[in-house]
Symmetry: C2
Subunit: 258 residues, 2 copies
């Protein structure tokens, strides 16, 4: 969706390709080193920061649509994605504040209040997690900026997106305590320090440097490899990989990570 013709077609005929009245918003969490970030876009029309979002094609499942949206903003496909809540407060979108002139300035197109985009919308929230250093943030049609913010330095957000982030963070952390995470988020082979740091970053709290890895091992989630990694003037850590069978079982039945 880049050419003027495509944009015009989206505005005029989008309701034939997409399901009207329903959108998806994505809380895309990024970690790297010890920092947790979230990806935001700056909406052209209301001149404020929002979660990346989009509409659902009539042929798509919800998770497929969320995956498409996340890929368009980050360049990364097949991320861990989970639905966390659906938002439908009638006042959430503030469609009464629609500004025809701003829209015209930004797109060069005249649309009216009867356009399918300017109507009450219920939004399904998804969160995803990725290594932000591997992403290439890109604004969408409606936005003029797209970048990562430290999770504790998020600017003022439009609509109900602040609440969305809080809900997403809460759901993600509850999930993290009950299911292993890391497959597709760590390299195939990794050290205990690496998975320890990942969990600390996502949970936003300290985990015992010795007991936490021991717990993962005692649950049978990790398989110790004979290889080591040389990373400095000190004892080299062993490499581990996930025991896929135990990992999948834990995803299905749940575990408790303290």
């Amino acid at each position: 969706m880049d050419t003027q013709a495509e944009i015009e077609d989206f505005l005029l005929n989008g309701h034939l390709q997409y399901v009207p009245h329903v959108s998806i918003d994505c809380a895309i969490f990024g970690y790297h080193g010890q920092q947790l970030k979230i990806l935001l876009i700056r909406n052209k029309f209301i001149q404020g920061w929002c979660l990346p979002g989009g509409y659902i094609k009539r042929t798509e499942t919800l998770v497929k649509a969320a995956n498409r949206i996340v890929k368009e903003r980050t360049g990364i496909g097949n991320l861990f994605l989970q639905q966390f809540k659906t938002f439908g407060d009638p006042n959430r979108a503030r469609i009464n504040e629609f500004d025809e002139e701003l829209w015209y300035k930004a797109t060069g197109l005249r649309i009216t209040k009867t356009n399918w985009l300017i109507d009450q919308t219920i939004s399904v929230g998804f969160y995803s997690i990725t290594d932000f250093s591997k992403s290439t943030p890109k604004p969408d049609l409606m936005s003029d900026d797209c970048k990562w913010f430290d999770i504790d330095r998020v600017p003022k957000l439009e609509f109900d997106h602040k609440e969305m982030i809080q809900e997403a963070l809460h759901t993600m952390r509850v999930y993290l305590y009950h299911y292993p995470i890391g497959y597709n988020m760590l390299p195939e082979k990794f050290t205990l320090s690496e998975i320890h740091a990942l969990y600390e970053t996502l949970l936003g709290k300290k985990l015992d440097v010795s007991n936490f890895p021991k717990k993962l091992i005692s649950l049978g989630l990790l398989k110790k490899l004979s290889e080591k990694r040389s990373i400095g003037p000190h004892r080299s850590p062993h490499l581990y990989k996930f025991d896929k069978t135990a990992y999948d079982k834990a995803l299905k039945e749940g575990v408790v990570l303290t």
Copy 2:
């Protein structure tokens, strides 16, 4: 919505009052004695069992809409209600199988495939819990029966409603392990046996008769009253009530009930 005129108005102009393309389906769980049940309705048009559902008024929040739907089917308002998942598979509603003749026979009205009701719909799932003996099940406009089924004797269900029940049950049980439940679901004063039986019924598993109540007490959730209840030729149980402060704190911060 009972008169023919009201039904006709709903079919022709419902999209003005309700948000099109979005519905709510409710998994209404009922307990009594030691039995867990679920409320189902029998759809007139496809002649099959479904979860009770409905549309969202443009002025309503999602939870308010769910509350209205639950009250219409059970006669009970202000139930514990929680969103569990939103369903949007493009094939979930099978709108291609729409039968104009069946619809005419049931309602006396001719509607076409272009009617707002016959279009792709994304459904927000809520579950609720109530004492089924206090309910008065009532079918809706689209159904000719509405009754409780034992949770392990659910008939074949239409659409994706079997998956919905499974997801609802799973979410409800996970919730139950992490938050206290029972306020508004037990009388103000109750015995340890009563809350023990409620949890066993909802979780579908045995809980230790001595340790489970002790856990609740050690968490400070219950306040022992001086009154007792006489219920047979044996030691009379003490009555308890919830410590509202501790209960609300547990709802907010979570607890672990094993």
